[in-house]
């Protein structure tokens, strides 16, 4: 049985007239078990592979091998399917004109491996059609409580307008979770990241096709270790208060604010997808009406909810004080993640400016990113930034854009921009 706990880190002391309360809530899950085996419904897995012409014979062969590796990692008893996509989507396995899934066992595994060995490269790219088919395939098995897909692409979404993709993403949001991967350097980070963020998944670059198998294998293993099908974060704030934002800040930065659905006028629910044995940090910011010195109040109640059951709770408090030694203290956790969130924004804005030819903004933003990465001890980010900029002064954030940059390095910096490091305890 999965066990959850929640811990709140904050400085609850507000100065006279102070209104804004920030807290980091760490939610920890242990004993999650394996996907589809917790007795609360079945798990489903769909592998979506780009088989457009740009993949080429070698690319498609590598993708087929990767899909076979992934199939090996899917647990027996888990419902699954394989979709091959170009400018339209086909069900590669099970071989059927109608959407359908089957349960994994030794026979279906072998049949699916044979099917993906027959992938061939042809046609364009329309990822929206792949996502719609995946949604319809998942819908054929009503017992599924945990639905996860991995999506591989190598190119831009050329055979579909951005508006159509946006509409599709909206339509399938909440239907299933999806980790997305781009192979090579011809795909658009923003486009694929949009899919991953909406579908509560991750995004990353796989620079070369021979790295596909290892990545696929890891993704499926991760998915299979998530025994908690779905959990929601609930945030209660008092009457008259404003929830400024709710963000996941570790392991990656994801703004959840706009994903709120109202439970009641004071309580909102935010989907967090499936959980394995892991720990996630959330940054909650609440604006209160200021109270008198010495008064105390509850600023937020943050809960993790499975179905209707509250499995963990943290209380965020506010206490107005005239003591500056208390009110000026900054929670190291809040400061750390505020810096990490700004770091993600600085990297993304810097790279966007660079792509648009705005060298000045790119230099300023990436310089700030270098500074923040150093301040928050995010060495991975520093390493990635070094491949894009020459650092003159890390503390001051003085950098120069490199004359020549490997496209893959730039994309890796972009896709990893939301990854955060944990605050040092």
């Amino acid at each position: 049985m999965a066990e959850f706990s929640a811990t709140v880190y904050q400085n609850e002391f507000l100065p006279d007239g102070g209104t804004d309360v920030h807290a980091i809530v760490t939610v920890n899950c242990s004993g999650a078990g394996a996907a589809g085996q917790s007795g609360s419904g079945d798990a489903g897995e769909i592998i979506i592979v780009d088989t457009s012409g740009s993949m080429g014979a070698d690319g498609v062969r590598a993708a087929g091998v990767a899909a076979q590796t992934a199939l090996d990692q899917i647990l027996d008893g888990v419902w699954f399917a394989v979709i091959s996509g170009n400018d339209r989507a086909q069900l590669a396995f099970p071989p059927s004109p109608e959407p359908v899934m089957v349960k994994m066992d030794q026979f279906t595994r072998q049949a699916a491996k044979d099917a993906v060995a027959r992938f061939y490269a042809d046609g364009g790219t329309a990822m929206g059609t792949w996502l719609r088919l995946a949604s319809r395939v998942f819908a054929t098995v009503p017992s599924l409580t945990q639905k996860h897909a991995i999506l591989l692409t190598d190119g831009e979404n050329q055979h579909e307008t951005p508006e159509v993709l946006t509409e599709t993403i909206k339509a399938v949001t909440g239907q299933f979770q999806c980790d997305t991967r781009g192979v090579g350097v011809a795909w658009q980070v923003d486009e694929v990241r949009r899919i991953a963020q909406a579908l509560l998944g991750t995004v990353d670059i796989i620079p070369a096709p021979d790295q596909l198998a290892a990545e696929f294998s890891k993704l499926i293993r991760n998915a299979m270790s998530r025994g908690v099908a779905q959990a929601d974060l609930r945030v209660w704030a008092p009457q008259g208060a404003e929830v400024l934002f709710v963000r996941q800040v570790a392991p990656t930065v994801e703004d959840l604010t706009s994903r709120r659905t109202a439970i009641n006028p004071l309580t909102g629910s935010y989907p967090t997808g499936s959980w394995g044995d892991e720990s996630r940090d959330y940054h909650v910011a609440i604006r209160l009406a200021a109270k008198g010195i010495g008064q105390e109040q509850l600023a937020a109640r943050v809960q993790l909810v499975l179905g209707a059951d509250v499995v963990a709770q943290g209380l965020v408090k506010a206490l107005w004080s005239a003591d500056e030694a208390l009110t000026t203290r900054i929670s190291p956790e809040v400061a750390h993640y505020t810096g990490q969130t700004e770091l993600a924004d600085a990297i993304q804005e810097g790279l966007a400016a660079k792509a648009a030819g705005d060298t000045e903004t790119a230099t300023t933003k990436l310089g700030r990113a270098v500074q923040l990465a150093a301040q928050t001890g995010n060495e991975e980010a520093t390493t990635r930034l070094r491949k894009v900029v020459d650092i003159d002064d890390q503390e001051a954030g003085t950098v120069r854009l490199k004359r020549t940059v490997e496209k893959a390095d730039e994309m890796a910096l972009d896709t990893a921009s939301t990854k955060t490091t944990r605050v040092k305890k």
């Binding site: 811990t7 709140v8 400085n11 008092p238 009457q239 208060a241 105390e296 509850l298």
Partner: protein, 356 residues
């Protein structure tokens, strides 16, 4: 985490730099909360709500916390309003007693401390000016469970004082001696109550001050251990301090150092006598007088007198506050507590008044 929560050893208060011992929970100089000891398991979250190990209700009937005092909403299991989030005050944090229209007291957590270690227990006959017993104990915040011990002590003392009234014949001196003897017995009972509420293996046994004023048969007798005080403020005469603090500051004052200077020093709040397991001696020093004419008896903790230590200005404060509240003791005591909170509320505040 803040400095005070994570450091395991400290000899100075991180707030004011005053000297503190490792086992102290609050700085005696400034009231800042210090590193919690083993009794308060280190929690990764900041929690201002240091709960006493034993919860004592001031009035069993008042235990279920009613609707939110701020918005009328329901109070949740964690003690906060489910609608507006306001913290519901615990009965122990603020309570009053008013046994007769002419006698009342208010005991309040103040602002800076996370719990109320002051205690109040009073009794009075209905006939104005006849008989009143006012007891105040101030739990020493550097010891454990002092909130529990101080309340038990005050109530035990009141019980002794109420029970022992011998009326009728006798000289003034024999009356006085009887009251003094009863005050000593009350201090003994209070001390026993503190010991009863101290865990035998406590690293930091509970302790508290003691002050009691007894008005009986026209005599006013006050006795104290520690730095809680009793005063007589006649309307038409000079204010009288009935007690002398058992404190470092009082010893300095006795050597001629001005009160303001002595009471602002780094050890101003260090007391030299108290009730409790490690108390050297708990015999109250007593003063007896016969009040002539109308006036106020005030018994209070340092949460009040910290902001007005000289008898004369304190008398003026009480008279003015009473005048602003129609001479009503409960409203006046409550207003004096509000006044101390407005000055900063650095400590728990207890004010008990009897109107003669």
């Amino acid at each position: 985490m803040d400095v005070a929560m994570t450091s395991t050893t400290q000899t100075v208060c991180p707030n004011c730099g005053g000297q503190v011992s490792e086992a102290d929970r609050f700085c005696e100089a400034c009231g800042a909360e210090l590193n919690p000891t083993a009794a308060a398991p280190a929690s990764p979250a900041l929690d201002t709500d240091t709960e006493p190990t034993v919860e004592i209700s001031t009035d069993p009937a008042a235990e279920p916390v009613g609707p939110c005092r701020s918005c009328g909403g329901a109070i949740g299991a964690e003690g906060y309003c489910e609608t507006c989030g306001t913290k519901a005050s615990k009965p122990r944090d603020h309570f009053d007693e008013h046994p007769a229209p002419w006698v009342a007291g208010v005991c309040d957590r103040g602002i800076r401390h996370s719990r109320n270690e002051d205690a109040l227990a009073i009794a009075a006959d209905a006939e104005p000016g006849s008989r009143a017993l006012l007891v105040v104990c101030d739990g020493v915040s550097s010891s454990l469970d002092s909130d529990v011990a101080s309340l038990a002590a005050a109530r035990a003392a009141r019980e002794v004082l109420v029970a022992g009234h011998a009326q009728g014949i006798g000289t003034e001196s024999s009356h006085s001696n009887a009251i003094v003897a009863r005050l000593k017995a009350a201090a003994d009972a209070a001390n026993d109550a503190v010991l009863d509420n101290t865990s035998p293996d406590s690293p930091n046994p509970a302790s508290c001050t003691f002050v009691a004023a007894v008005l009986e048969d026209g005599l006013l007798v006050a006795g104290a251990v520690g730095d809680s005080r009793a005063y007589w403020f006649p309307d038409e005469d000079e204010a009288v301090a009935l007690t002398v603090d058992d404190s470092w500051a009082a010893e300095l004052i006795a050597t001629g150092i001005p009160r303001a200077e002595a009471e602002s020093g780094p050890h101003a709040h260090a007391i030299t006598r108290w009730l409790g397991k490690d108390a050297p001696d708990h015999t109250p020093r007593t003063t007896t007088l016969r009040p002539a004419g109308p006036g106020w008896i005030l018994v209070c903790s340092d949460g009040l007198w910290n902001y007005c230590s000289e008898a004369a200005p304190l008398a003026d404060l009480v008279r003015q506050t009473a005048a602003a509240h129609g001479g009503e003791p409960l409203a006046t005591a409550s207003a004096l507590v509000d006044w101390a909170n407005a000055q900063g509320g650095q400590d728990n505040i207890t004010v008990a008044l009897a109107r003669l």
